[in-house]
Point group: C2
Chain length 714, copies 2
């Protein structure tokens, strides 16, 4: 059974079962085996609940059964709250009973070493054989709020209360972190419907849950946490579906720093892809990667209006000039535009509020609050005439007191009703009940105005991503075409890449020094000479490249010396001769490359040459394959992009040709996914606009063992 | 009267008066003229209070006087709550009465245009003449919490209550922002003693307040907000004094972005120095520059224990592996070290908590909370053996419930008592009263663990700054030595800079092409040739520089052509001949420069050459003069520093020689502060370690009008 092929129906009994057995059910409602039962009864789960406990006839007031086999009816879903040692037998019993899905809380599996790992594999195998889906082990369970289904023992429901109704889903590999996010989101007033912690993932993985949620009508916003992903194709499909369905995905993928990555790998057994690859992936699919939990919650909260503008125009209102400046600074940091109000609207505002700054930020000053209708009218003019994608109004504690709040809400109502889809944040310092009242009027509330700016930037990024989302889902499949020649020398590599549509410098192979001289004359001086041999991959060691050769004599001379050095340095190498190529004048040196990620397969790298890549590590990545728009986004991401746009008085470079080469390279890499370890085009010279681009050198390293597909999944 | 000379006594009556007149006192305790009176009575101000109101015999139960002249005793301090038009007369009356300090709330001065500006200047002049210090106009006043002195009408005291006792001071140019910061700090449980809003600053400026607070025994932490500073010497003295007295300064200086700077300049009349100069200044004096208000409050809060470790070692405890990773990632971002626990301590922890990750982050998992003594013992081992400068323990909502909190506090107490100076943050989600209980035990409480990491990094930066603080306060005085030659040509510039101790390439002046050829032979090939003329500053226009000349013949030739181009291009220029210099081989090109800031005077710039400065704008600044340690910090700040440290297989560069040149340049610039507009040393080539460094070119642009000192203050 392959979850990638038809994953959706299979998770249905996991989230919407009609009957539930709790194996290890406890009469004590505070214990691990007691809490889920209590939660489900309190939340009014309508399905059948069968406590299984060999030592008690009744558990928390319900009839209990000594074994799952004794349960009278059919059981869709089973919950295991047993010691690890007892789990294998219980899973077998569930399979025998015809259970379709289960959650295993128990720890003591892959996370404790080889014995536990074996046990975990056993369980997974039983589930797969029976077609029974398993969440866990070593997890905190899940919930489906809409039907009161709470097979979880997280104590944070006791701390914070049952989730509010809503359409946000949370999926987390970690139970502790999933609970923390639940608590914070809940305290922020975010309504959560689905919550899943996948733990050790012996069967159901985060990716499959994401795909389920991306397709699920009851989910509108997805929050995810993962330490590592193992299912390339399922994840890519999930993210593409979420985008196509206009569902924001906010993702916490930990392990950015070296220490962080170490801690992540000690925490789970997940195979963690290199972090830059996750950055690439998230950019590619318009996912918001949160760096902090606070940011994760902020963005999820900001999605509550389900308004995702595709623009970048931000209107700012403040009663403190200083905060106006802080918001404007933050807007610039996040790439938003604090566009001025139209001139006539500025004049109107100035008549309304003579002491105000009216450009944008509009500083109404605290004085405006002596007459709330002025504040309201000011906002109305901004809604109507500003053309802003979002507006943030900083009113601090002045708007926070209950008395002012009531007056202000009343004043603001008319304008609000006329422009219900205008995204408006109030940045106020107020007690929670006041915050809730403003929220009911359709405002987003952020205490900190800078965080509000960041959140608005995220909504707009979602908006652009949704707008640009390809109509058809992109093809992510990786091919397995073998390379025609292995080992593969420079000439073969260039032939292959040229055939794939990547421009290569025109070279001639000269077998002798004499031939090199005449080839050089044909090519035109100055030329470059290079040793040509499938067996010499690192040319610098033998000075295998000679640049800027300016005459036929010099070409003959240098070619002779070059062949000699090659024979001396590599006595057993097959030497084909000397490659003669024109020196490319001008242009900007870039580097294009492909590396192979153990999870995501071929990944394309782009960077500028020289200090940019060597000192500043200024490179960016994408999962192959991708299209031209994605390639242009890559190019726009490097710090040195100004060079390509024509900095230092130079003409702008041929970015179209560069983007095209990146796309072709990504397609080539995807087609030969199994066969290639890495590719280097270094330097890849981008000439002036309209002049094209050309690779001066190319290296393809084939995979040592062209073995299993990286996308094989579980 | 010069506040820089002896500023401290003069602010005394402003903050600690024995008698206060309120001019425009209102009987309505909610009005601007009524609130301060009510606040002072409620807060129990012990001095005499004289309401002045011509229309009422009594105001809020106190005897009122028709005019300040009628007040029986002497008046130290007067508060003006009058319309702008009435202020000049009132200020005169105060001066006549012998008032020593006053606060003017009224708006309608420099912020509204030229008429208001005149009125403001009048008031300032009256004050200066009488030796009467004035805060405002257009401000929200100030308070001194310790003596119940509240001459302010901020409504946020009504919203949030009176400040808690404490030793934090807040100084803000903006009243609205100062009030906002007060409210947030207050809600965070920060005790505030002194709060001053300076408004239009007709007399007392933020800088002088900072100096007062830096010297004041009752102030331990200083929070500041400014849009622009006008008093260079006072500010530098204030920041140096604060550092010498181990008082952290947390500064919000707005106007980082282009839009932000525009908003700032429309908000006040303050002369805003270029933003990079403020960055330089704050780095130089160990000031924490906050980018957001949230960060400002976080850092001020974190100072509550008054512990400022000079190290960088961070211990992390978590019950969620994912949060452990997030904290570790953040630690790397902020330059902290997540050093592992010693091996034997790890073994001990593992025995205690077999399921835990024990390296650092220490992941105790939620299981540990089944036995609080384990959590306590774990922390104790980390205190005792970890050697951490700070520890952050993430316990989320698990430690947040009142019941768990009481148990946990009790368990943790013994370890805490043994290590009272260990800086410990608990990152918990808890109601405010629970937070306060933990704080009483000496913990810092941050809900968000990433923000806790950032705050710990700030405390450690303060610690290092305090440790490195020079014993004697540095000399900030700027000299006014004139340049010996104006206009100043390249040769004179090089002579001057060489005499100042900056290494210059050795050059010979050749009057004729023949002399150039023989000079070139002496210097050794290859050489560079340059036109020498005090009248030709931009050599590129006439191709005035020829590089890589390899023979005497070529030198003769090129010199002749060069002289011809110069004569043709600049027929009236005095042409001295051709400079012949050796080509410097290898080394790393950097740029050293000086610009003149209108407030801070000469500012030294440093950057790497080529794309670093041209494309990436990778430069850093310091206020001149400074010492070698500061120069090395500058060098460490540029993104391309790896190049100097020996990236790309190159040997490390002579950073000592570079630092020395920066110091000499800063001293030279300070000595000639009045005479120089800018200096460029470009390129300044840094050779390999031990080989020194050398400027290949130098340009000094003298000031058009060597007029007023930038440090003149008000």
């Amino acid at each position: 059974m392959n979850p990638a092929a038809d994953p959706c129906p299979s998770l249905e009994p996991l989230l919407r079962p009609r009957s539930v057995a709790i194996i290890g059910a406890s009469d004590d409602p505070t214990r691990i085996g007691g809490r889920p039962l209590r939660y489900m009864m309190e939340a009014g789960f309508a399905g059948a609940i069968y406590p299984v406990n060999p030592r008690r006839p009744r558990v928390q007031g319900l009839d209990a059964y000594p074994d799952i086999a004794d349960v009278p009816g059919s059981v869709d879903f089973a919950l295991l709250a047993l010691p690890a040692a007892a789990c294998v037998r219980a899973v077998e019993a569930c399979a025998a009973k015809g259970v379709r899905a289960m959650v295993i809380f128990s720890s003591g599996f892959a996370e404790v070493g080889s014995e536990g790992r074996e046990r975990q594999e056993q369980i997974g195998a039983i589930g797969r054989k029976a077609g029974m889906r398993i969440v866990g082990p070593n997890c905190l369970g899940l919930f489906n709020n809409a039907i009161g289904f709470f097979p979880t023992f997280t104590s944070l429901i006791d701390t914070g209360g049952f989730p509010l109704p809503g359409n946000v889903a949370i999926v987390s590999q970690s139970g502790a972190y999933g609970s923390h996010v639940f608590l914070l989101a809940h305290r922020r007033g975010i309504g959560i419907n689905t919550w899943i912690t996948t733990g050790n993932e012996c069967d159901v993985q985060v990716s499959e849950c994401l795909l389920q949620l991306a397709l699920d009508d009851e989910t509108e916003v997805i929050v995810a946490y993962a330490e590592g992903i193992r299912e390339r194709d399922v994840l890519l499909e999930a993210l593409a579906q979420a985008r196509a369905n206009r569902k924001p995905v906010v993702f916490m993928k930990v392990g950015r720093s070296s220490v962080g990555a170490q801690a992540a790998s000690s925490h789970t057994a997940a195979l963690t892809g290199a972090d830059a690859v996750y950055d690439a992936l998230f950019r590619q699919f318009g996912v918001h990667r949160a760096r902090t939990t606070e940011e994760l919650i902020d963005v999820a909260y900001a999605c509550r209006r389900r308004i995702y503008p595709a623009g970048r125009r931000l209107g700012l209102v403040t009663l403190s000039g200083g905060v106006g400046v802080q918001m404007a600074d933050a807007a610039e940091d996040y790439g938003l535009e604090v566009t001025p109000m139209p001139e006539d609207a500025q004049r109107e505002l100035k008549q309304l509020l003579p002491y105000a700054a009216v450009r944008n930020p509009v500083d109404v000053t605290a004085q405006a609050f002596n007459d709330m209708s002025l504040v309201a009218r000011n906002l109305e003019i901004m809604y109507e005439r500003g053309g802003y994608d979002a507006i943030i109004a900083f009113f601090t504690g002045v708007a926070g007191s209950r008395y002012v709040a009531a007056q202000l809400r009343e004043s603001l109502r008319r304008a609000r009703e006329r422009f219900p889809d205008q995204l408006v944040v109030l940045s106020i310092v107020a007690p929670e009940e006041t915050v809730r009242l403003y929220e009911e009027e359709g405002y987003l509330i952020f205490e900190d105005p800078t965080r509000a700016v960041a959140a608005m930037a995220s909504l707009m990024a979602f908006g652009r991503s949704f707008q640009e989302s390809p109509r058809a889902l992109p093809a992510f499949e990786l091919g397995c075409e073998p390379l025609t020649e292995v080992p593969i020398g420079e000439r073969a590599a260039k032939r292959l890449l040229a055939a794939a549509g990547i421009p290569m410098v025109e070279e001639r192979l000269a077998a002798t020094p004499e031939e090199a001289a005449s080839a050089a004359k044909e090519v035109g001086f100055p030329v470059a000479l290079k040793i040509s041999s499938p067996d010499i991959l690192h040319k610098t060691e033998i000075r295998g490249v000679v640049l800027d050769v300016r005459s036929a004599d010099a070409a003959r001379h240098e070619a002779e010396a070059l062949l000699e050095r090659a024979r001396a340095g590599h006595p057993h190498a097959r030497i084909e001769g000397v490659l003669v190529a024109p020196m490319i004048q001008g242009g900007i040196e870039t580097i294009l490359g492909v590396t192979r990620d153990s999870v995501f397969g071929p990944v394309v790298m782009f960077g500028l040459g020289g200090v940019f890549v060597e000192v500043l590590n200024d490179v960016t990545f994408r999962i192959a394959p991708f299209d031209g728009r994605e390639a242009k986004r890559m190019i726009g991401e490097v710090k040195g992009r100004a060079l390509l746009e024509g900095a230092r008085g130079a003409p702008p470079a041929d970015i179209d040709a560069l983007a095209c080469a990146l796309v072709r390279l990504s397609e080539f890499a995807a087609r030969h996914a199994d066969a290639i370890e890495s590719i280097d085009l270094n330097p890849f010279v981008v000439l002036s606009k309209g002049q094209g681009a050309v690779a001066l050198d190319a290296l393809i390293v084939p995979r040592a063992s062209a073995g299993a597909r990286p996308s094989a999944g579980r």
